[in-house]
């Protein structure tokens, strides 16, 4: 009976008032959002500061435990010795070389993953028959450990760069694929209807509607994929390589140069933190249109 509750009559003056009120209210919206953003930034800085004492305690323990003989100094040198070793590795240029080669392997594998997963994911998400046919194969491959396949990659591609790129590709592609598919599937059907009503071609529908609408999900997948390919390259370098951070860590352990080993591990941690921070920043930038994006730093 909504018809009966319709308002009877309305004065022209009211129109003007309503119009002005609406504009003012709307103009206020972004301001509120901006202040909320500042508050959350402050809050995350606060959270960071809260965490500093415990981390400091951890580093302090690392420094004094070997010195006081609580831990074997040969297996566990004090933090200061590790930092000295780290500085020496850095100064000699060795560390930079290892970092460069590891990042390069991870990046190439990840880039290949993007090139393969996004078009494939768009198709699998959009055409259910395509997904029905390919899903079982994807699930099978996805649940096979990349490290179990390293011997296979080495057999097929040799001990060189190709097998490392293969394992980083394999480690990243499924995160990207699965998230692209779920992104495509969750595109608001109304947006597709609107696009079609404007005469959008199938190709443009993918390029201008489905892909941008799926970006938040794809970028979330990319974060996992980058981490996964970094982990994979370290593992692969430990098992079969003559260069890279994984090799540095593994080789230092074999040579009992434990300070170098920890220097390598610390370097990896710093890289991991930096990459994660950059990815969170990228995710915020790429999904700025969503308004406040509540991405955690984890």
């Amino acid at each position: 009976m909504a018809y009966l509750t319709e308002k009877f009559g309305s004065a022209g003056a009211l129109h003007l008032l309503a119009g002005a009120g609406e504009t003012v209210a709307a103009a206020r919206v972004p301001a509120i959002k901006a202040s909320a953003k500042i508050r959350s930034k402050k809050a995350s800085r606060g959270t960071f500061l809260y965490g500093v004492p415990l981390l400091g305690l951890f580093f302090l323990l690392w420094e004094i435990a070997p010195r006081l003989g609580w831990l074997n100094r040969i297996f566990f040198p004090p933090l200061s010795e590790v930092l000295v070793a780290w500085w020496a590795l850095l100064a000699s240029g060795v560390l930079i070389e290892h970092i460069g080669i590891s990042l390069q392997r991870a990046a190439i594998g990840f880039a290949l993953g993007v090139v393969v997963a996004i078009p494939l994911g768009l198709l699998m998400g959009r055409y259910s028959l395509f997904e029905k046919v390919s899903d079982l194969l994807v699930q099978t491959l996805r649940n096979t450990s990349q490290f179990a396949l390293l011997p296979v990659f080495i057999l097929l591609l040799g001990i060189g760069e190709e097998s490392k790129v293969a394992i980083t590709f394999y480690s990243s592609v499924f995160f990207l694929l699965v998230n692209t598919i779920s992104g495509v599937k969750s595109v608001d059907p109304l947006l597709i209807k609107a696009a079609r009503s404007m005469g959008t071609s199938d190709f443009d529908l993918f390029r201008k509607v489905i892909l941008p609408a799926s970006i938040p999900s794809i970028v979330a997948g990319a974060r996992l994929a980058v981490k996964s390919s970094l982990f994979a390259v370290i593992g692969a370098e430990m098992l079969a390589a003559k260069s890279g951070l994984g090799f540095l860590i593994q080789n230092s352990q074999l040579m009992m140069e434990t300070a170098d080993m920890y220097a390598g591990i610390l370097t990896l941690t710093v890289i991991g933190l930096t990459v994660n921070y950059l990815l969170v920043w990228f995710e915020r930038w790429a999904t700025a249109w969503k308004g406040q994006s509540e991405t955690s730093l984890i």
């Binding site: 309503a18 209210a25 009503s197 404007m198 970006i215």
Partner: protein, 283 residues
Amino acid sequence: MDRPNMDRIVVSDISKTFQLKPGQFVTVDGEATDRVTVLDGVDLSIRKGEFITLVGPSGSGKSVLLDIIGGLTQATDGNVQLDGRRITRPDPKTGYVFQQYALFPWRTALANIEYALEVRGVAKAERTATARHLLALFGLAGFENRFPNQLSGGMQQRVAIARALASNPEVLLMDEPFAALDQQTRELLQGELLRIWGKINTTVIFVTHSIDEAIFLADRVVVMTARPGAVKEIIDIDLPRPRDGDIRASAEFNLYRARVWDVLRDEVNKAQKDWTLSPAFSH
């Protein structure tokens, strides 16, 4: 009154039946079925530049009829002609406005309007100029770079209407475009729509649940029957134009209100009965 050569859109004997998914069924007139007929024999001729509003109870297939005219859905039977040509897919001459705005959230207000021109291959400079002009026309100059979620509902719908008008459509289809807005914004936008329509003389087909809105906007109000939908009656609205909000308080307006409600009442009652009989209906 009828000048056949002036007919822009001719809807001839349109029927639409939805086939439910396997295993799903509903109760229609006491019988279980997996097919639901939402439109049954709709005939309607719409003249060039005319403002038509469609009212009818829930489930009378108003939106489906709009989708068929927009070329987004195919009729099961019958056909729709636009300027003598049968509609089988979205026509570049048609613009569509939805209740939920359907703006692309990753595009700014300006870029949303540009989209309509982009997919039609209009050059960048020209589409930006057109989009800016339209935003200004809707009183949104200065809001070019806002994303939809930074705009109020009324502003978003203005952008959506501007987007639909960007390609200079000869037909504008509007599916309850103001239903999600508060009463003041709604009346404000009704006034704006009439003002702009007065300038461009597009043919408008406007679906609404509101009798007031239907009368205020229309040259003719088309009242649909309860499901399966057909045209029950067409009421000519002979109110002077340009119209402003005051007209709602006039005696004539009240007469129209009573008249439309009179035609609609039985159908609403029927629809209510229909819906209580088939609680499983959904699509």
